[in-house]
């Protein structure tokens, strides 16, 4: 294998880890309450702007931007849940879709109005520059994002499977009425799920901002990949999102390198359709 191919694969893995990171919040909400959050991409966008504002006002990078964005987004998540999602969940599926889609547009155009349409960017070497390991160039900001992606994914997985809170949340996801009979308040659990999911998205956005451009429509670009990652990994499966993210990242990079950039989507989506044909529940979803 040539050195360039190794570089392509490493780049794909780091990219995939980031895909996984910003998809974990979406899969959590999907799995917890069967709500498809169409505002997810715009949550990422909001987190990127939060990181940008933190850097502008306080002059600090991800060390401040990540926790602040996580807090801001967790709050946005809770507010969205109580102000919107709780109500539309009682309606038909189409109400959920249009409700969260409306939220997406509200967030997008509020930022448009506040910051204008200009592209922005954090300084390039905010998280150290680039360095070489065994002939492979690594960008510190992407490495940080990839590492955090693994930690957050593992954390979310442990939270859901190994803690009482996680058990309660899964109980609500399984059967809200039965959970209520056992003394669990579904409303509270779902609000917590929204806070955690949006908080994780906040972390993702603040980290992506260190190597990506920031614009009001950036969420649109990122959201499609999040949906593909989540469906491929399996609805509600956090480890599934990680595996799917990494898979998509590597396949996308290799096909762009070998076949050509315009064909990478064809390769990724053919694979996506093929997997769903064989396993409609996704790689790690429950049937």
């Amino acid at each position: 294998m040539s050195a360039t191919v190794v570089q392509v694969i490493v780049g794909g893995l780091l990219l995939g880890a980031v895909y996984a990171l910003f998809s974990s919040g979406l899969t959590l909400i999907w799995g917890m309450m069967n709500v498809v959050n169409f505002a997810h991409g715009d949550f990422v966008m909001l987190a990127m702007y939060t990181a940008f504002v933190v850097w502008q006002l306080l002059g600090i990078g991800p060390a401040g931007g990540v926790p602040i964005a996580a807090l801001v987004l967790a709050t946005v998540g809770i507010v969205s849940y109580f102000a919107l999602v709780r109500h539309v969940m009682r309606g038909p599926m189409i109400a959920q879709i249009l409700g969260t889609f409306g939220l997406a547009l509200l967030l997008r155009y509020s930022v448009f109005w506040g910051f204008g349409a200009n592209f922005m960017s954090l300084p390039d070497n905010l998280v150290g520059g680039t360095f070489e390991v065994l002939g492979v160039r690594l960008q510190a900001s992407r490495l940080l994002a990839g590492t955090v992606a693994l930690i957050v994914t593992a954390g979310l997985h442990l939270l859901l499977t190994r803690t009482p809170l996680g058990s309660r949340m899964l109980a609500v996801a399984e059967d809200a009425d039965a959970a209520q009979l056992m003394g669990i308040r579904p409303d509270r659990m779902q609000a917590i799920a929204w806070a955690i999911a949006a908080g994780a998205t906040g972390i993702a956005g603040a980290l992506i901002a260190t190597f990506f451009y920031i614009s009001p429509t950036v969420g649109e670009t990122l959201a499609i990949i999040a949906f593909v990652t989540v469906s491929l990994g399996g609805f509600g499966s956090v480890p599934g999102a990680l595996i799917a993210g990494l898979l998509i990242g590597v396949i996308e990079s290799l096909s762009a390198y070998w076949i050509g950039a315009v064909y990478k989507d064809i390769v990724v989506y053919s694979l996506f359709v093929a997997v769903l044909w064989l396993r409609p529940q996704g790689l790690m979803g429950k049937s």
Binding site: T4, L15, A117, N118, F119, R137, F211, E252, L254, A256
Partner: protein, 418 residues
Amino acid sequence: MIEVFSPRLLPSIASLVLATALSLPAGAQETVKIGAIYPLSGNAASAGTAAKAAIEVATEVINGDHQNLGDLTLARGAGLPGLKGAKVEVVFADNQGTPAAGQNQALRLITEEKVHALTGAYQSGITLTASAIAERHGIPFLSGESVAANLTERGFKWFFRTTPVAADIAKTYMAFLKEIKGAGTKVDSVAIVNENTEYGTSIAKVLREAAKENGFNVSIEIPYSANTTDVQSQVLQLKDKNPDVVIFVSYTSDAILYTKTMQALGYKPPVLIGDNSGFSDASFLKTVGGIAQGAINRSAWDIGKPGSTTFLINEMYKKKTGNDLDDTAGRAMQGFFVLVEAINRAGSTDPAKIQAALKATDLKPGQLMMGYKGVKFDDKGNNTLASALLIQVQGDAYVAVWPKENATAELKLPYKGW
């Protein structure tokens, strides 16, 4: 039967009708309504809002009395003298970055807003669909900035454009490459990296042909989708091939991504040309200008010396947006000036008369704000006098570097990056 018309109301209605009829000739001049279609949302919104601001400045210049702007068309005196001082009103419409939305907006502007002429629509692929609607309705469409070759190859009678087109651009780049080759720079292989809609595809095709004619070897072509999240593989392909010259034909988000990724992967082509659009967006210099030192771009815009017409226009634009005017928005603005000048000369808002006036357009450099050699349309609607010079990122701004007679700074090679 419901009585809807009471005879008792008759006198008051009659007087109302009479008053309206009487007020018409004495009342305010009719306004000239122009529809402007630009990407005001979506990925290209930064370029679209810049064009909108530029056209708003042009409207201010036309509707107000500006004695200090030299011979710039319609600057002196308020409104359009050819139409008894009529004012211009611009109706902006958002093309949302999609050809379908651009088409719908053109239809809405023509049938509901009853605009007299149209301008826009930034992305060539959207100008393509929007101008087809104008053609069908017999409404003049003047694009100040769309460059794709086939826009004027459709036999349209109502479509005009003032910008240099793909062929002019290719000619400029080839002349430049020949000159630096003559001066000892290695130009054996050229790479073309283009976004894959109308704009990028068309320019890439013309560049490929021009390179062949001029004996340059195009060693690799990389088409890609502008709406991409990652360009690492493309940059690594370039790194593998190691061409002497890389020409990017990109919109803003992808131009920024390429620049960031090239730095991350430590790749610098000896000569980097970024064809306008993305590289001309004010956002480009602000976000990645610092790591794109030496990037070469085409432009027909120069801010000029303090006190000059272009300088004063830039001041007006800067007051509105906080940014310097860029070439793309400048070309949109120039297109708008030319369109309104033709309407003024037509002395009418009748589409056929505007079309005839556009065909007879003959503007001299002194009447323009862009550095064209003039404006004169050929049978296809292209401006035969359009031209461009080359500019280069040096420090935090673009400076004119080629041809020598227009240069304000020395060309710096190779590409420095960061």
